[in-house]
């Protein structure tokens, strides 16, 4: 422990003018007598100056294509790559062959498919966003997946669609942060639903999984209801 520490500990605050009059005077008095602390102060000054003069550096890769592809889509929740990739890997591992990215379809109930036999993640910068409108959990026409699984639930889908419409319509009445928090949390639940559903498709008779899935859907409805209620003027 250096005996200078009680002084050097104050040097940053001294530099940034965060000290009181008395403290400042004391530090200056000490600096007058102490070459080592003066030297430290000099280093700190240089570091601060260097930091302030740092120039921005552009990214190595051109990130614009990854941005452009997302601009075309209607403003909606987007999964981050690790989450999406994790979900698609899980599904790929379970079902093999074509992987249905169960992001939900548009009003017609289409879902997006991607072939991922190797289970590799999508290229960075390319993300799939869910189209506005009904989140249908219709698994579409993908072959090879357990047909007997009651994974879809028409009533649930309809309720979700209705609430999403209400939320979409009313979101202008919410402040930006709340909208973003709600969307973030909807995507957290969606990912949980996707994971549960993926697991259930591989193990259709698993009571735990179907219960878990039902519960997750219920929570999504709760959140949507709450969010839609928030958009109503008091």
């Amino acid at each position: 422990m250096s005996r200078h520490e009680q002084w050097t500990d104050q040097l940053s605050d001294y530099l940034d003018d965060e000290l009181s009059e008395a403290e400042r005077a004391a530090v200056e008095a000490h600096l007058g007598e102490c070459a080592e602390c003066s030297k430290t102060l000099g280093s700190l000054r240089r570091i601060v100056a260097e930091a302030a003069s740092l120039t921005p550096r552009p990214p190595e890769n051109d990130l614009w294509p990854g941005v452009a592809v997302r601009l075309a889509q209607p403003r909606r929740i987007s999964f981050t790559i690790p989450q999406l990739a994790a979900a698609s890997l899980l599904l790929a591992a379970l079902s093999g062959g074509a992987v249905v990215l169960l992001l939900g379809g548009g009003p017609t109930g289409r879902s997006q498919t991607a072939t991922n036999p190797g289970g590799t993640a999508e290229a960075p910068g390319v993300e799939a966003a869910r189209p506005a409108g009904a989140l249908s959990e219709d698994i579409g026409s993908d072959s090879g997946l357990a047909a007997a699984v009651n994974v879809a639930d028409a009533q649930y889908d309809e309720a979700v669609a209705e609430l999403e419409r209400a939320l979409e319509e009313g979101r202008g009445r919410l402040d930006a942060t709340t909208v973003s928090v709600v969307e973030q949390n909807l995507s957290i639940i969606d990912l949980a639903i996707a994971e549960a559903r993926g697991a259930l498709m591989a193990d259709p008779s698993n009571g735990f999984l179907s219960g878990h899935l039902i519960e997750a859907r219920r929570r999504k409805l709760d959140l949507l209801r709450r969010a839609a209620a928030l958009t109503q003027p008091n």
Partner: protein, 291 residues
């Protein structure tokens, strides 16, 4: 949100009104932005102190068995009003706000709070207690009754309460300590649940998460049928357990004592840990993630 510190003794408050109230009157506060701090006293009266700008005023008026408190802003922009309200202990309270932190101490009636971006901190509450936020932590202690806490992006912390309890959030942890209840339902998606309280005979306790770990303190001589289910996580217990009806390593049930209570612990990606009361629970995700 502007942050003012209200000193009740000093004359910083620009509104200071005291209104007598009859027993059974409910307090109804609506504050778009600003703090609402509620404390109690023995008088059958409500004192409203509020800190706000010149262009605002506070309306305190009686309604249908209610005392209604609203802010008025004469210019079009919403400005923040900070309230310090003193109420009789028996009074039931409703607070609605948007960017509003709500604190209550010593309250003894129903409590109903809803805010969008704000912390809720209630100590007290008897009867129906409902606390809702979207972004902001919720804390309840020393309450008794039918308790319903809903959050979205943040934690829920409940301690020293009794009565039926439902606590649900999406992106936050749920911590239930010294909860004396026969009916507990705690649900989160993205974080942990910790439960520490008696497990009453014939009670029903459900702790569910998706990504979080669940930790339960199991007192000695508990009578419960425990259903433990996780999909990807592990299970551990700090005391010996005898597993029956094991579907898999990760989903099984066990009977303690006469099995009269029903305890269902379920997570998908997280692990499940049982311990004895007094042993330290695992740390929450967020605490671990902090620098």
């Amino acid at each position: 949100m502007l942050q003012y510190v209200l000193f009740a003794a000093l004359a910083l408050a620009q509104t200071d009104q005291t209104v007598p109230v009859q027993k059974g009157t409910r307090l109804d506060v609506n504050n778009f932005s600003g703090d609402v701090k509620i404390t109690t006293w023995d008088r059958d009266a409500v004192r409203v102190e509020a800190d706000h700008s010149d262009r605002q005023s506070v309306d305190v008026r009686p309604g249908e068995q209610r005392l209604i408190i609203r802010g008025n802003s004469r210019n079009s922009g919403m400005r923040s009003i900070d309230y310090a309200i003193t109420v009789p202990k028996w009074m039931s309270i409703t607070v609605n706000g948007n960017y509003t932190d709500v604190t209550m101490e010593g309250v003894g009636g129903d409590v109903n709070v809803e805010t969008t971006r704000g912390d809720i901190n209630v100590s007290g509450g008897v009867g129906f207690i409902s606390l809702k936020s979207v972004q902001g932590s919720i804390s309840l202690s020393h309450a008794n009754g039918r308790i319903d806490i809903t959050n979205v992006n943040d934690d829920i912390h409940v301690a020293d309460v009794s009565g039926d309890l439902t606590a649900g959030t999406t992106n936050g942890a749920i911590t239930l300590e010294r909860v004396d209840s026969s009916n507990v339902d705690a649900y989160t998606v993205n974080d942990n649940i910790t439960y520490d309280g008696p497990i009453r005979d014939k009670g029903v306790y459900r702790l569910t998460s998706h990504n979080g770990a669940i930790s339960l303190a199991v007192p000695d001589r508990t009578n419960a049928t425990m259903s433990i289910r996780t999909y990807n996580g592990g299970f551990r217990s700090s005391f010996p357990v005898k597993v029956e009806d094991q579907n898999s390593r990760r989903r099984f049930s066990m009977t303690l004592g006469d099995g009269s209570a029903r305890v269902e612990i379920e997570t998908f990606n997280g692990s499940i840990a049982l311990r004895r009361p007094g042993e330290a629970p695992p740390a929450n995700r967020r605490d671990r993630g902090r620098d």
